[in-house]
Symmetry: C2
Subunit: 373 residues, 2 copies
């Protein structure tokens, strides 16, 4: 999606994303109420991301649920380790964790260290450092060590490269040019990379010795990869992977629900931030939908729809009633901007305290998570 200075591709997200337009352009479907019912029936509950349209789009989710019934479904998601993990990254993974827990699914978690080396100005040593740090954070999110397998592109290359060339053989430069906007000045590793990203969508079928269905929950910017590789994967004799897309957590400075949280502005909340850092950042940077003075706010009320603290609570406050009360109170002027921010700060710090505690234990679990061929 690249129009009116809106860019959404795996390496850049810029501008106010129009998700409806993106659905059309990417050829995705909105998750229907009927599909939600099916998920709820299988999972025993409905994740608030689904209820609230945060996880909103899909490809072949219906087929994925059919295959789930036949015990023939696995999950695949990933992370490019080029820096610390911030709050904006984890919503997809929290949803994946929920799916794993509720449906008892195997998860293959890819770390695209090759991608981050090829597309960024980083050394392999720096990327290795972030790989290690990121793995700890991802383990700390609470995935099941018995059912979760980390694949690291450069470290599992014996397993992945021979499969990647099979995908690569089915994808021309013309195709990646059209899908990603590459030019002739892109390096030959960047051009090849999408083939590596395709591998975890069918590698488990090879490892388990049967053709399994893959469901890929991912942020919507990653979709072009799978649009490109679905056909290639199918030509190799494996089912086309299904996928689930989520909207982006708005950036702290973002003025609407659109736009991805950017760590490059230095205004992101990292999973390693202290309670005081979180408090300072939210108070200083979170775009407010409140009025300029308390008097005016009490009189006119705030606008939760453009208030970043409120938007973040739609991601972090699972209780619909509580959220509704916050919405109403803010809109009526009963709840002040500072008070709204305080609710978010407390919520985040509660989450981060538990996360950071689990993270300390994660080193011990690391070996269990890394896939042993």
């Amino acid at each position: 999606m690249e129009s009116n200075s809106v860019i959404v591709n795996p390496w850049e997200v810029k501008g106010n994303v129009d998700y409806n337009k993106l659905l059309d352009e990417f050829g995705l479907k909105r998750i229907s109420p009927a599909l939600m019912k099916r998920i709820e029936k299988n999972a025993g509950e409905l994740h608030h991301y689904l209820r609230r349209g945060i996880v909103f789009a899909h490809r072949d989710l219906d087929k994925a649920l059919d295959e789930y019934k036949k015990k023939n479904l696995f999950l695949y998601t990933g992370r490019g380790p080029s820096g610390p993990i911030h709050i904006g990254h984890i919503s997809v993974w929290l949803f994946v964790k929920w799916l794993q827990e509720k449906l008892g699914l195997e998860l293959w978690f890819q770390f695209t260290d090759d991608e981050k080396y090829l597309f960024n100005n980083l050394s392999m040593a720096e990327i290795d450092k972030w790989l290690h740090e990121n793995m700890l954070d991802i383990i700390a999110l609470g995935f099941d060590p018995k059912k979760t397998h980390f694949l690291i592109d450069t470290k599992h290359a014996n397993l992945m490269y021979p499969e990647a060339i099979k995908v690569a053989k089915k994808i021309t430069f013309s195709t990646v040019k059209a899908a990603f906007g590459f030019t002739n000045n892109f390096n030959v590793g960047e051009i090849f990379f999408t083939a590596m990203q395709a591998v975890p969508a069918f590698l488990p079928s090879i490892i388990r010795g049967k053709k399994m269905f893959c469901l890929i929950p991912h942020a919507i910017d990653q979709d072009p990869h799978f649009r490109v590789s679905r056909d290639a994967i199918h030509k190799l004799g494996f089912p086309k992977p299904g996928s689930i897309q989520s909207v982006f957590l708005p950036g702290l400075g973002g003025i609407s629900k659109d736009g991805k949280m950017s760590s490059s502005t230095g205004q992101a909340i990292y999973l390693t931030d202290t309670p005081n850092e979180v408090k300072k950042k939210i108070n200083k940077y979170a775009f407010s939908g409140g009025q300029n003075t308390i008097e005016e706010h009490r009189k006119k009320g705030g606008n939760p729809d453009i208030d970043v603290a409120y938007q973040w609570l739609t991601f972090f406050e699972e209780d619909d009633k509580k959220l509704k009360n916050i919405y109403d109170d803010y809109k009526s002027g009963k709840l002040l901007s500072g008070e709204l921010k305080k609710i978010l700060i407390d919520k985040l710090n509660l989450f981060l305290a538990a996360h950071q505690k689990r993270r300390k234990n994660a080193v011990k679990l690391l070996d269990k998570f890394i896939y042993k061929p």
Copy 2:
């Protein structure tokens, strides 16, 4: 080199190759008498390929000899396993074997199974079969198992892919397009592949923990790979590899010293051919420079310069005196075409009998040759 229907690139060699033109186009130097003296001094003798201009061109061979003095030189050559090995393939390797033996050098031998999969209409199973067969033939040529290390692209990917992306980052699509004549319809694996071919030129430096100089003897069609990767390898902090180029053994039906022996016509001599097959093929297919009748031949004499049997003897008959006698006798009409062919047939069958005997023993040595990281 692509003009007047002459094509010389790593995947196609067609037409009458003008080696002088190729030197200019590729930016190679002819091996000078002074350089030959240096080789002779170090090796204790001068290989007949050097004496006869079969191994004729180079890049930085002088530097390679400087580094040899410092015990800082290794050899690298390779094979793409897409079919049986024929007589036309082995001249470079016989020269490499001589270099290894005379200079006591380590040799890294790359098998580009990924390349053959990406550029040909072959399954990985077929390529795996040829990989195995080709390795046996290469072992049977007599390399030193203690100093020779096989690298197989898909099987050593853990070692090679992380290095290949470093090369890939320095090479754009524009560059490979210009060097290899690729179009936008080439697959993304083909576009990436040259990065894998570059790896053995510096991997030993990483493994041995010191910056070593690499000398790559290869048939001249492979040169574009190293023209592309030399700069990339240098940017990664390793010495630019040197190289030695050889002319092609003419095809059986070839009318001059030019043109590569082609196995696609079904007129190649394979290393597994029986004495009778060799006899039949040479007698039936080897282009003759003799006259139409015995009488005419006795009177006018033959033309060894276009006679394939004679040309092949320049590769296989090491003794300069013997070769000179054959040349003179053929030219004068004393030696008939059938007699000339008989000399070649006997020479080849002697070589193949010994080769096939060694080949039976090669399976036992296979494990010693495959590099263990």
